[in-house]
């Protein structure tokens, strides 16, 4: 039983993850439909944040590599920065330092998504979760794997707070969460 308990305690293994290559392809294209993003940005920074666990960091690194292979995010050139999550304050400092337009969260933020979203309210930062967790709590965009296919989740209220303005025709392709 002791062995089992030690095996069992990995909080980030909570759902299937859309392969990072596919997440990067989806993100790069969906940003074309964010009027705020598409009209203003020439070059953007993307923060990819992970927790201190193997699965979270591995997915984050794969996301960075996949995003770097995308020629553009929306229509903008982009630079990715890998950031380990220590606490909310350090994350906000990292955001202040790099001024990212997009922050992608690797798996493992189910318990921290609400406070993070609150801290970023009012900033023009698009929060993206690589899992479906955290969208209901405040991240704007998330990826899920349903029936063996990727799907996008969208939090309309958070989008307004984080000043994202996606076109209606692309919101039709997403699952909008209350």
């Amino acid at each position: 039983m002791t062995l089992v308990l030690s095996f069992g305690a990995t909080p980030e293994r909570d759902e299937a993850v859309v392969p990072p290559q596919l997440q990067a392809a989806l993100l790069s294209r969906v940003l074309r439909y964010d009027r705020e993003f598409a009209s203003r940005e020439q070059r953007v920074a993307v923060l990819v944040v992970h927790r201190e666990s193997g699965a979270s960091e591995a997915t984050a690194r794969q996301l960075v590599a996949a995003l770097r292979s995308e020629p553009a995010l929306g229509t903008a050139a982009h630079d990715e920065v890998l950031v380990p999550f220590v606490n909310l304050e350090s994350l906000v400092k990292a955001i202040d330092r790099h001024a990212p337009r997009v922050v992608v969260f690797a798996p493992g933020f189910a318990d921290a998504s609400g406070p993070i979203a609150n801290a970023l309210a009012g900033r023009q930062v698009l929060t993206v979760s690589s899992t479906p967790r955290g969208i209901r709590e405040g991240f704007v965009l998330g990826f899920d794997l349903v029936d063996g296919k990727p799907s996008m989740l969208f939090n309309l209220a958070s989008a307004r707070l984080q000043k994202a303005d996606f076109r209606a025709e692309v919101i039709k392709l997403m699952k909008v969460v209350p």
């Binding site: 089992v4 308990l5 095996f7 069992g8 305690a9 990995t10 909080p11 293994r13 909570d14 759902e15 299937a16 993850v17 859309v18 392969p19 990072p20 290559q21 596919l22 392809a25 989806l26 294209r29 969906v30 074309r32 439909y33 666990s53 193997g54 699965a55 960091e57 591995a58 690194r61 794969q62 960075v64 590599a65 996949a66 292979s69 794997l145 349903v146 029936d147 063996g148 296919k149 990727p150 799907s151 996008m152 076109r167 025709e169 692309v170 039709k172 392709l173």
Partner: protein
């Protein structure tokens, strides 16, 4: 013909893409994004999640939504109505499945590997796997199916000769708290000429009840979830009429008398009307995941009876109490963790058991008598009971690690090892109907081990170039080691298409049944059989046009050392399984599918030639087949769909059989009778939610086969004779209606 179809597919796709763009009125066009959202993610081909178009194989992904909305109740139906390159046929008992024009009749599915959440279902006695209700999984439990065509031993070992069917089950959150499905169907009786009977007494039907539940929470800081399911299915077939076969005789070497095929029928005569066509299956499923640990247990029982004697002991007596029953119990405990960005590990232990019982009740000494006949009975008025039992238990431990050299997913190396121990055996018991045993035969049992090691390197050489190379070595206690390599290269073209080249191999170890089964006076053992092999090369191209997708694949395969039941010597009546078969196989496949607004469609076609080493075509294996479907999401909510699958003419199962006339000259089937007609099944489905009742969905299906009969020869006369040159073919199900009610609580 294939070229014309390909041109038609490409032209149609381009037209639809243009139409969608124009219709959208959107200068950016969301087609590309929608296309990406339609791109399936598969885990079967590489044992790692990847885009289906990046995977080292040709794969059809069937989603739970398709299964539900298109009224598909089994994997067998999903294969026929949706797959690219797979075909499944119903000989009136367990279905047979083939890939790319190679269907090996009578193999009980042992050339196709079936996985449920990565766990091998094919049993270890004869390699059996089922695709109809016998699979033992409620269809509502399935998240998606990966129908992988082509050899797959590189990661899975034996049995993945024709392909792999990977069943992925739903998680607790996708399943919801409670889901209940009730289903019933009706089918009218059928006459010998295939026409439908209006007699109410001829009606057959089926009933199914399934209960599924999912539960998820946090336990000791880690996510914990349980999925559970139970299903009961009962099918009592409609009345079927078979053309009578007469003049059947048998002898004990001294006397000859009319052969009995029924206790109540006329001696020497087979056929007429029967209701002995039915299925009963039960299954239980329990899966739990807690953090890195996953455990599951699956149990199933699958019984079936058929009126059609296939000439090999299935339901010998036309009106007897004959059936076959398979029972499976599978259990697995798996631990997996990503240790750091460079290293992940998985260990799983598994234990499985399987039991087969075939119960034949026969009044025919020739079919069921063995050993010396009892001296005190009249063989002309005697009923035999034969129980054919086979069983297997196996278990093992598999360890796997993935080394991601750069820690960014571009160059992962997978290494694995699997150690397995299996025990299997069989026994036949012949007795009188009162149960008094007088003979045991075909008795054997064996314990064997197997060790395997495999490696797979995936490499994104360039952003547009993906390499996948792998190798598996299987060492077994009774066979020389087998090496199964695979290599695949996928290039993403500048216009977004995927050009894919794959060379793959597979093997199948001889089953315990093939090595040890013996029947006095008919079949002797061959414990020295060696594994079968296949080598396949394929080149494919796939292109998306928004939500429309076109795929074309060309392939060539060489099957060697195929195990066939053949005469020990050309003049000998005794047979044994031998590594004597070879097949050369080649052809092309094409697929077009997509959606525009509320309309969706799909069309697939496979053309293939498969020729044995004696230059003959494979029986019951059509050289072209495919499927098509259209669906509309009506404005009121329900979805209306029309589906079809079709296949070309094929040799009947007994095409090569010959008889002898009084002068010893060969007698053949009448000209043309060795061919069965093309086949076509049609289906109309309406499915949708019921307004006002939360969680309730209803589905109605009407369908049936256009052609009255399949290519399987039934009845005692499996060979032509002077007075019998037109074989009796197994009837197809001509018409059925199905209603399903499903209620879910999320």
């Amino acid at each position: 013909m294939t070229n014309r179809i390909l041109v038609l597919l490409l032209t149609t796709a381009a037209a639809l893409a243009r139409a969608e763009s124009a219709d959208g009125g959107d200068e950016l066009g969301t087609g590309e994004l929608a296309g990406l959202l339609d791109t399936a993610v598969v885990s079967g081909p590489s044992r790692a999640d990847e885009r289906v178009d990046d995977s080292p194989a040709t794969v059809t992904v069937v989603t739970a939504e398709q299964l539900r909305s298109l009224g598909l109740r089994t994997v067998h139906e999903a294969i026929n109505f949706l797959s690219l390159g797979m075909l499944s046929q119903d000989p009136l008992h367990s279905v047979e499945t083939g890939v790319r024009g190679v269907l090996l009749s009578g193999d009980y599915g042992n050339h196709l590997l079936v996985l449920v959440d990565g766990h091998t279902i094919n049993e270890s006695w004869n390699g059996t796997a089922y695709y109809e209700q016998g699979l033992g999984l409620p269809i509502e439990l399935i998240d998606h199916l990966e129908l992988i065509v082509g050899p797959g031993s590189v990661l899975y070992g034996s049995s993945a000769m024709l392909g792999v069917v990977n069943v992925v089950t739903r998680s607790a959150s996708e399943l919801g708290r409670l889901r209940v499905s009730l289903e019933g169907s009706l089918a009218p009786g059928q006459r010998a000429d295939g026409s439908l009977s209006s007699a109410p007494g001829g009606l057959g039907g089926s009933g199914r009840a399934a209960v599924l539940s999912g539960f998820a929470t946090q336990l000791a800081g880690a996510p914990f979830e349980v999925t559970a399911a139970a299903e009961y299915f009962l099918h009592q077939g409609q009345t079927l009429e078979f053309a009578k076969q007469t003049g059947l005789t048998e002898s004990d070497g001294t006397n000859e008398w009319p052969q009995r095929w029924s206790r109540e029928g006329v001696p020497g005569e087979w056929g007429g009307e029967t209701r002995r066509y039915g299925t009963r299956s039960m299954s239980l499923w329990l899966k739990s995941r807690w953090g890195d640990l996953t455990a599951y247990v699956r149990g199933s029982s699958y019984s079936r009876t058929t009126p059609a004697n296939d000439g090999f002991g299935v339901a010998v007596d036309f009106d007897g109490q004959a059936y076959e029953r398979d029972r499976f119990l599978n259990a697995e405990l798996r631990w997996s963790r990503v240790l750091n960005p460079h290293l992940s590990a998985m260990v799983r232990g598994y234990v499985d058991t399987y039991e087969y019982v075939g119960r034949d009740q026969s009044s025919s000494w020739l079919m069921n008598g063995s050993g010396d006949p009892p001296a005190d009975v009249d063989l002309r008025d005697f009923t035999f009971l034969q129980l054919n039992a086979g069983w297997a238990s196996w278990g093992g431990l598999e360890a796997q690690t993935t080394v991601d050299w750069l820690g960014d997913g571009r160059f992962p190396l997978m290494l694995g090892a699997d150690a397995r121990l299996r025990h299997f055996g069989a026994k036949n018991v012949d007795s009188a109907l009162d149960g008094s045993t007088y003979a045991e035969s075909n008795v054997y049992q064996a314990t064997e081990w197997q060790l395997a090691a495999y490696a797979q390197q995936r490499a994104r050489l360039l952003p547009s170039l993906l390499l996948n190379v792998g190798l598996r070595v299987d060492a077994q206690s009774v066979f020389a080691p087998n090496v199964a390599p695979r290599g695949a290269l996928t290039w993403t073209t500048p216009w977004g298409g995927r050009l894919k080249a794959v060379v793959s191999t597979a093997f199948r170890s001889p089953s315990g049944y093939e090595r040890f089964a013996e029947y006095v006076g008919f079949q002797i053992r061959n414990p020295n059989l060696s594994p079968e092999h296949v080598l396949t090369g394929e080149l494919g191209y796939e292109q998306r046009f928004g939500r429309h997708r076109v795929q074309v694949v060309g392939f060539a395969s060489r099957f060697t050392d195929l195990i066939r039941l053949e005469s020990v010597t050309p003049t000998d009546e005794l047979t044994m399984y031998q590594n004597s078969g070879r097949i050369m196989n080649g052809g092309g496949q094409a697929l077009l599918e997509g959606a525009a607004g509320a309309f969706s469609y799909g069309l697939s076609f496979t053309g293939a030639v498969a020729v044995s080493d004696d230059q003959t075509l494979l029986p019951v294996s059509p050289s072209w087949f495919g499927n098509a479907r259209v669906s509309w999401e009506l404005s009121a909510g329900p979805r209306l769909s029309f589906l079809t699958h079709f296949s070309g003419p094929r040799l009947i199962s007994a095409a090569s059989n010959t008889g002898l006339d009084a002068n010893g000259e060969p007698v053949r089937w009448r000209e043309g009778a060795e061919w069965a007609t093309a086949q076509c099944e049609l289906r109309a489905v309406v499915e949708g939610s019921v307004q006002g009742v939360r969680g309730l969905r209803l589905r109605g299906v009407v369908g049936g086969n256009v052609m009255p009969s399949s290519g399987y020869v039934v009845g005692p006369r499996q060979s032509p004779s002077v007075d019998f040159t037109s074989p009796t073919l197994a009837p197809n199900n001509r018409l059925f209606a199905l209603l399903t009610a499903s209620w879910s609580l999320d």
